[in-house]
């Protein structure tokens, strides 16, 4: 299902993406792409435009100029249903006001045209819930969970969404788009989520992450886009983007980087 030759054709890409909110330029001619089998990380200071760029990839930007394409087809040519089979998106908002159970919420990730049958669905839900550390919560009301637990429920819902749609469009890769998926996690939860992300990516899923923790980003990311004031300031692999001079410049804070046993460590003090 996945094109492992790394052909540039099979990607979720934005070309010259510009977005304005009123007169304020939020994104300025961004060129970026998410490739199957790789973890692409968006980093940058608050207000740099990371979440807006993520919305562009997710396909819900109301107004923009430029091109957003999946395998060179403009994203507007896909129906919401087709898009849902190709990519799952996790946002930071939490809007639920009624007492859905955790299982109900996870099941919302199952689309009406899912390819796996009911028994498999139940098995997959229990298995993935277990690996997200929320299996013991399946019968609980979502409103009673802590912020971190809720976040893992929504993450699990996204995993279910792409898991149960493998094969809907055999010629295209699937994408996982996550806006700060570990913002409410303790260190164990963070590792749990990012290991699952890494696993999906190694199976060929294209991943886009917005992350604030640069050390975590350096460890899990394959390629990086460093945003500043709505433009891409630097892009590429860790050693090209995560440098002392670049980071110090973009974050306007002195940053020191040490390399120990092949792993970089980014410090601000």
């Amino acid at each position: 299902m996945v094109n492992h030759e790394g052909s540039s054709k099979v990607t979720l890409a934005v070309q010259n993406l510009s977005v304005k909110f009123g007169t304020k330029v939020v994104l300025n001619s961004i060129i970026a792409k998410i490739e199957p089998g790789r973890i692409t990380v968006l980093i940058g200071p608050n207000g740099a435009g990371k979440s807006t760029l993520l919305s562009g990839f997710a396909g819900h930007l109301p107004d923009y100029s430029g091109l957003i394409t999946i395998d060179e087809t403009p994203i507007g040519n896909f129906t919401p249903k087709q898009l849902a089979a190709l990519r799952a998106v996790m946002m930071q908002s939490d809007n639920l006001v009624f007492e859905f159970s955790v299982r109900d919420v996870i099941r919302m990730g199952l689309l009406p045209h899912v390819t796996c049958n009911a028994n498999v669905q139940t098995e997959v839900i229990e298995d993935l819930a277990d690996r997200c550390g929320i299996r013991h919560l399946l019968h609980q009301s979502i409103l009673r969970l802590s912020g971190g637990e809720k976040q893992r429920v929504h993450f699990c819902r996204c995993l279910i969404q792409i898991w149960c749609n493998t094969g809907s469009y055999p010629d295209s890769a699937q994408y996982l788009i996550l806006d700060e998926p570990t913002s409410s996690q303790d260190i164990a939860g963070e590792l749990r989520i990012l290991n699952l992300v890494k696993e999906r990516s190694s199976e060929g899923v294209g991943v886009l992450l917005v992350l604030h923790d640069l050390n975590i980003a350096a460890h899990f990311g394959d390629s990086f886009y460093l945003l500043k004031n709505g433009s891409v300031f630097a892009q590429g692999e860790a050693d090209e983007v995560l440098t002392e001079s670049t980071l110090s410049n973009v974050y306007e804070t002195p940053v020191r980087i040490e390399t120990r046993e092949n792993r970089i460590q980014i410090n601000t003090f």
């Binding site: 898009l83 946002m91 908002s93």
Partner: protein, 344 residues
């Protein structure tokens, strides 16, 4: 506080959601039979069904009692469904067609027809539809305005919708007052009787078009239950899950306006059914929209037939307006609900 609500509802859901739906259906049939047989003239239902009742009893049954009770059931069902889906659409547990102004808009439409209807040249066979259509139009305008306001001020703040509802209710009472001023004596009489809200003048000719509209809209809403569930995650999230959010919102706004508009056209403004019923159903059948809408239809019908039964038998030979009965039950419930969901 919300935690307490959660525990209560989930425990009940786990134990007996199947039995709850059977219970709801049984309760509805019981109340329906009761509503058909009890009244100013007690009717022996069994004799009427088997054809052994006398002709006066049969006439009362077919011409007066049956249309009245069925209409009450249909209005109760459709108001409760409208309440359920409006609460879902606005992600707001306090949404009620009456409180947020939808019923007021429908009333304004209906009153306009009472006052200006004679100016329009409507063929008699369509006359039964003019009031419901005008009321639906009024309800539609209000729901649309509410929706624009609510989405403009961000993610559906509970208070925003209620405040906009207050403003719209005020505006529609201005409109209704204006129409009262413009109406002549006969129109004024019709108007005031209509505004009190009653099923007392139910006849097949006016009841059937409304029952048809409400039934169709209710079933169509049940068909939107999957998308409505996903909408609870947020609009972007629903889109990510493959929902065409704009078209679902339009359909739900239109269908709930049909439910409310047709109900108001035929029975006046009857408050709180749309608020109370969905919450009771959530306690017993859970929050997923399919069981919620179906359950709300059943319980709404049950509640309205009972309220109408009280309204027409409590002070015989007179009647109390049925809206008085539902409000007496609903307003305290609303107060209780505010203490549960109001921002802490």
């Amino acid at each position: 506080m919300q935690g307490k609500l959660a525990r209560l509802s989930l425990n009940l859901t786990a134990i007996d959601s199947k039995w709850s739906s059977v219970g709801l259906a049984a309760l509805f049939l019981l109340v329906l039979t009761l509503g058909l047989s009890v009244g100013a003239v007690p009717l022996p239902i069994w004799d009427i069904v088997t054809g052994s009742a006398d002709s006066l009893e049969s006439t009362i049954f077919t011409q007066i009692r049956a249309p009245r009770v069925l209409l009450a059931a249909a209005v109760g069902a459709s108001l409760a469904c409208a309440g359920a889906v409006l609460q879902g659409l606005f992600r707001n547990p306090l949404a009620d067609p009456g409180l947020i102004g939808v019923s007021g808009g429908a009333a304004l439409g209906a009153v306009a027809v009472i006052v200006f209807g004679s100016w329009l040249d409507i063929p008699p066979e369509l006359a039964g539809y003019t009031m419901p259509v005008a009321a639906v139009f009024g309800a539609l305008v209000v729901t649309g305005i509410l929706y624009l306001f609510a989405s403009r001020f961000g993610q559906f703040k509970i208070v925003t919708v209620l405040l906009v509802g207050i403003a719209i209710n005020a505006l529609s009472s201005v409109g209704i007052g204006l129409f009262q001023y413009l109406s002549d004596d006969t129109q004024l009489r019709t108007l005031i009787f209509w505004m009190m809200g009653s099923f007392g003048r139910a006849q097949w000719g006016t009841a059937l078009p409304c029952i048809a509209m409400m039934t169709l809209a209710t079933f169509a809403l049940i068909g939107r239950s999957g998308p409505l569930d996903k909408l609870q995650l947020g609009e972007f999230e629903a889109f990510h899950l493959g929902i065409d959010v704009l078209s679902v919102k339009r359909q739900v706004v239109l269908l709930s306006a049909v439910c409310v508009g047709a109900g108001v056209a035929v029975a006046g403004i009857i408050g709180f059914v749309g608020l109370v019923v969905p919450h009771i159903v959530r306690f017993t059948l859970g929050v997923s929209h399919r069981p919620l809408i179906l359950g709300s239809a059943l319980l709404g019908a049950t509640l309205m037939v009972s309220a109408d039964l009280v309204a027409r038998t409590a002070v015989l030979p007179a009647e109390i307006p049925v809206g008085l009965v539902t409000s007496a039950l609903g307003a305290p419930f609303f107060l209780w609900l505010i203490t549960k969901v109001a921002p802490r």
